[in-house]
Symmetry: C2
Subunit: 116 residues, 2 copies
């Protein structure tokens, strides 16, 4: 875990891949895979940052400089999961959403109240 | 908590507001606020769904049918937090990102491997 657990301020537009999932019971190699998947993401070109948390639902948002990088990462991740038959073993359900971030506000920009 | 802890399949394009935060120590009324904030979101026009999890970082993604609804919600949320001086009390840091979701894939669509 880095000292900064979320992706630092980025300059829109950039791309967010929002992966939400509900896990199956048991680990079945999931934790090791998740850690190596995150390491792999960090080494990809055009990677900007990643944020992750899990309670009832797991949410991992990865940030990329453009759509083709995001699509490339989605293919790599899907391939790794498929190799280990992870889709059925690890996930009761999931969604992948690919989005373009148009605006970003932070605590220090004091713009949470701003309209844009 | 609903039986379905994440937003069900939606029809892109729609808008995602990605709120990531690091909490300060202690509750200070946060849990009650967070629950009522989620209730309030669910009652807003153009609300599509919400997903939330917290570990080292908290991630809440709310989904809206259009940009103006998302902006409207951001203003309401910011106002509520400001009323209770929550920005300083609850959050060590945060980011708000407003994004347009262009593509969505689910487990049942078997399209995690698809390019689009």
């Amino acid at each position: 875990m880095s000292s900064h657990p979320f992706a630092d301020t980025l300059e829109p537009p950039y791309v967010a891949v929002i992966f939400t999932s509900v896990r199956t019971p048991g680990d079945n190699g999931y934790a090791v895979m998740a850690a190596s998947m995150e390491e792999l993401a960090r080494g990809q070109p055009s990677f900007l940052g990643i944020e992750s948390a899990r309670e009832d639902v797991g949410i991992t948002v990865s940030y990329w400089s453009d759509q083709s990088a995001a699509q490339g990462w989605k293919r790599v991740a899907a391939h790794l999961v498929a190799q280990r038959r992870g889709r059925e073993v690890w996930y009761a359900d999931y969604r992948v959403r690919v989005a373009t971030v148009e605006r970003e506000y932070g605590r220090d920009t004091s713009s949470l109240d701003a309209d844009r």
